[in-house]
Amino acid sequence: MDKRRQSLGDCAKMMGWMMSEPLLDVRGVTLQYKTSERVVTATHRVSFSVLQGDRFVLLGPSGCGKSSLLKAVGGYIKPIEGDISLRGQHISGPGPDRMMVFQEFDQLLPWKTVADNVVFPLLASGRMRKAEAVGRARHYIDKVGLSKFADSYPHTLSGGMKQRVAIARGMAMEPEILLMDEPFAALDALTRRTMQDELLRLWDDTKFTVLFVTHSINEAIRIGTRILLLSPHPGQVRAEVNSSTEPLRQMELESQINTLLFA
């Protein structure tokens, strides 16, 4: 009985998180990595909060530690100062509640077909049984328009298609937050444009929360609802602004960001 009351309490707490508290809370995070000769500070006391349903973009030039920040949220790097928490839970390692979409095309398992690539994490994390997983995988593969290629192996797909599979894989897990590390950076300009539109369409469909890293100002404004601007060496927060869907405001924002970065 006590236990149930406690879990009810937990539930209420969760609801509280959902309504007002940030989903992801990054507080004063300093990240460092070691090379054989020196210790490099990637970010210095960075703080930001991501709310449920945000398309939160980390934007900055190379060397601003935006990828490192994303990897820290993913649980791959431990901050030497500050704390990262998801729904109030301290993040201590990688986990399937934060699915990652990488920039590299080799992120798919080459020994599995498209469908199996999407099914595998669903089974590996012990979330569901095979039949259910296959059904959900099919649903998300359909969403990214790759139903015809469900039985193909990754090496037969183009770069854009591989990234679509990676996105389907991430979304199928229905994670608390989807982490995207410059997923379109290695694509050609035309494909990148269609992929951005597709991502927005998918978001309109399911309203997932996404943390997106990019170095393209244009992409940040198109994709994001809120943009965190980082300055380089070491990465520090320069600004945190709302994006807009209005073309005029977008242009204004672009020049504003340009001034912030290069002035």
Partner: protein, 289 residues
């Protein structure tokens, strides 16, 4: 110095329409399709080698030193029909499979240890650099002392000949798995055992397969050599013993038949078993072309 390029008009054209499929694509001629088959090309090479062998055998006309191809085939079929060769080959293969399996299993254990702990890594590196250059045959006298005249000694030297080369390749394969794939595996929250089995092993499979192939060849030649050295184990000899025995009786065509049998088993293993595995795995996955 400023030279302006001459002004050119815009050009627009109508494209031709190709009606028949014929104009755009046509079938490859039959002989070219035949020649595209790997097994046929290899068969031609083998036939040419056999022809050269036969020609030299007939020309030298000394069946004691160099029996011709037909003499060898005759001795081969004789020994095949009377059941001696299959029995000997089976004895060898049985010991070989045991040694190979144990060696490959130990290699897996060592390389998994090496990839998961730093000390395991140092352990494997030290051991391979110590023992890999040591010929398995050099251990045979010791093995005979420890395990006696029996398949125990053979298995021991076989394990030694397989273990280090398979472990080296496996470890190199694990080290070469891209950091992206590693991060993907950890993202799924896999336990360390299933992380190794479901991510590292398939991702490193090309290297692992190479290691297994080289290990197979090493094991095969170690076994034949060991059998030549101490021959019969517990009353039943293998292929090496067959070769040794026939040499002593100056049945040189049968010696050649024994060697031929070794070659045929090697060819079959490479072209049937390993090729089949390759087709089902690394080729299908696009890791090898």
């Amino acid at each position: 110095m400023d030279i302006e390029p001459a002004a050119r008009p815009d050009i627009f054209r109508e494209v031709e329409h190709f009606s028949g499929a014929e104009a755009v694509e046509r079938p490859i001629p039959a002989w070219e399709r035949l020649w595209n088959m790997g097994w046929l090309r290899k068969a031609v090479i083998i036939a040419a080698l056999c022809g050269a062998w036969q020609a030299y055998g007939v020309w030298s006309d000394n069946s004691l030193l160099f029996p011709s191809f037909t003499d060898t085939i005759e001795a081969f079929t004789d020994n095949l029909v009377n059941g001696v060769l299959p029995a000997r080959a089976w004895v060898s293969i049985k010991v070989l499979l045991i040694g190979y399996a144990v060696g490959a299993g130990l290699a897996t254990l060592l390389s998994v240890l090496a990839i998961t702990t730093r000390l395991g890594n140092d352990f494997l590196e030290t051991l391979t650099s110590m023992f890999n250059p040591l010929p398995a045959i050099a251990l045979l006298p010791l093995a005979l002392l420890w395990f006696g005249l029996g398949s125990g000694s053979l298995v021991f030297v076989l394990v030694h000949s397989v273990l280090w080369v398979v472990a080296l390749n496996m470890h190199a394969g694990f080290m070469g798995v891209s950091s992206t794939l590693r991060m993907v595996g950890r993202n799924y929250g896999l336990s360390s055992l299933s992380y190794v089995l479901k991510i590292l092993v398939p991702a490193a499979f090309p290297s692992i397969l190479t290691g297994l192939k080289i290990g197979w060849a090493f094991a095969w030649r170690t076994l034949i050599a060991a059998e030549l050295v101490f021959g019969v184990s517990s009353g039943k000899g293998g292929l090496g013993w067959f070769i040794f025995e026939n040499k002593n009786q100056l049945e040189i065509p049968s010696v050649f038949a024994g060697l031929l049998c070794v070659i045929i088993i090697g060819l079959a293993m490479e072209n049937l078993v390993f090729r089949w595995i390759e087709r089902r795995t690394v080729r299908r996955w696009g890791m090898q072309h």
